[in-house]
Symmetry: C2
């Protein structure tokens, strides 16, 4: 019998299609990916090609290396094909205007790329935790910097891994988009969290995290600062949430200690996905409070990993409701047991 | 300068990324699809293989042909791999239960397939209008029948065309999913429409349609009963809405005359997509009022076509906000001019 499950935080119902459910082994990539070289002269993100990108806005570099030259370990740049234009110098309040019935406004904001490694063939799954810490530090630095612009309402940091996840370049990188509006989807989540707080006086995400850590069945791993679990109402096979254990509305409030804790959990979880499912395509995204809600007691930032193992079709696009053909508890058990990397598979790294 | 546009009905902001915008010719499929045979003995939806599917629940057939045998023109069957289980005979009220903090309920509902043609290599774009009328009649008949079940809250009818749209079988077919809950995404749309009605006393979709028909710039075509246009805040390149010109909340209220009118517009629009863009993958979905809102003055059913020309990535999944790299006005102009099919391309049909 299929089952409907409601997400506790968002109130979305998800169909867990047990009749169509696949086993963990069915999700493993059949054809191994072609290995990449460590350096690609044609890649605009590889060291030596810094002039092919807009000038960097942040980097972590070797001593004595030059800005916009090689020697960086992590490097943030404006996206050359930005979806939003950088604000003009004086950064005026953005004015909405009418087109007949409709509202429009200038597409002002930020769209940046965080190049995660000088090595073309790396990804967080195959990096050291120290390398991943530096990626998180880049996220934090850019977040705090851009959050100062009064036009910025929401900052979304995300990673597209593989072509099915919308990645056009293979060189490891994340992106950041700072929008001048709060997207409706985020408003709806804030609203549901606020209702929970107004009724119960607690953060819905804190309550969810406590319950998951107590039930254990869907937990993959946890450390002092973060816990990773497959949500009860996972929308897609192997959806994973990484949640700070301390209440915190905005990613902008996270500390250096938390950066280290997040890096450790993120690297371990992505490594388990890599080894357990054969390096699946995925997106991850940091879901955080908008600028003006950064102090709210009801919201709680978290990182969502969404593997692209299935294709959303007309039903999902039309109803917004998801059909998940994997059991969350089974996915979590698989990822817990995928902790020991297969020595044959890691040889190439 | 990129532009943000707000959808008038849903209130979603969309980024129209003019800097990254592609021209109409950039969207045309480069490698033509391999032609399909008219009949495939291994296809469970081809005539002669009726025993490979669950027994039919509806068909339009030649005189003297046998139920569950060949001779049908359109045939509806329960999905063999249903996402929701058919209700038991007595159809009891569905009871929610708790799993700790969380809510769950049995996955009861309907999941049906409407096989659109006995010919394996057809699609609505290459059918006659008469053939498409029969598909719409099948939609209407199944909708009205399933809407009688007191457990059914929302009926979603959709079509997945091509692998990028999640279609696993090539034989032309649509699907219907009847859910025992109203998905949150639909509730949010109802809520926005209701707010508009409470303020202005009009249906937001009627207002939008009037404005589009007056502005003309985004209209592709219209007949007495329906109009097709690219929405002002189109979420994806070549998104198209087909809207009934008369106010009507539920698809279940549509008449036989409207079925003919919808078929004519739908066939013409899909034919323009087929000829103008080289048969792109797409989903279409009928967005309709839930069962208990079928008489509302504020909602208005419509059919949305969502071509799968781009891949939603981490930003879209995380923020719910779309980046559209095609100008709606340009897409509409292209589809208006794609009215005359290229004789070379139609030879194969």
């Amino acid at each position: 019998m299929p089952e409907l499950r409601q997400d506790f935080a968002t109130k979305e119902w998800v169909i867990i299609a047990t009749e169509r459910a696949k086993r963990p082994e069915d999700w493993v990539r059949q054809e191994p990916l072609e290995p990449l070289p460590e350096h690609d002269v044609n890649c605009p993100f590889c060291p030596g090609n810094e002039a092919k990108t807009p000038p960097e806005v942040f980097s972590l570099r070797e001593v004595n290396s030059q800005t916009n030259g090689p020697g960086w370990r992590v490097r943030a740049i404006p996206n050359k094909f930005a979806a939003l234009a950088a604000p003009p110098e004086e950064s005026p309040r953005l004015v909405r205007s009418r087109h007949g019935l409709y509202l429009q406004m200038p597409g002002i904001g930020y769209h940046e790329v965080i190049i995660e490694s000088p090595r073309h063939n790396k990804s967080p799954a195959t990096m050291s935790v120290t390398e991943v810490v530096e990626i998180i530090l880049a996220y934090q630095t850019r977040y705090v910097e851009l959050d100062r612009d009064p036009n910025v309402q929401l900052i979304t940091i995300f990673r597209n891994h593989g072509p099915l996840a919308g990645a056009s370049l293979r060189h490891p990188h994340s992106q950041l988009v700072a929008t001048p509006v709060v997207p409706l989807h985020i408003r709806h989540r804030l609203y549901e969290a606020q209702r929970h707080y107004d009724a119960l006086g607690t953060c819905v995400f804190c309550d969810m995290l406590d319950f998951e850590l107590q039930e254990k069945e869907r937990v993959i791993l946890a450390n002092e600062h973060f816990a990773a679990f497959v949500p009860y109402a996972a929308r897609v096979p192997y959806e994973i949430w990484i949640v700070p254990r301390e209440h915190q509305a905005s990613f902008g409030q996270s500390t250096i200690e938390q950066a280290a804790g997040l890096a450790a959990v993120l690297q371990a979880v992505l490594s388990r996905l890599y080894h357990g499912l054969g390096d699946p395509d995925y997106n991850y995204v940091i879901n955080t409070a908008p600028h003006h809600s950064s102090g709210e007691p009801f919201y709680h930032w978290h990182l969502q990993i969404l593997p692209r193992l299935t294709t959303p079709a007309g039903f999902e696009l039309g109803s917004g409701m998801h059909i998940n053909v994997s059991l969350p508890e089974e996915a979590a058990a698989h990822l817990r047991s995928a902790g020991e990397p297969d020595p044959k598979k890691t040889a190439e790294d």
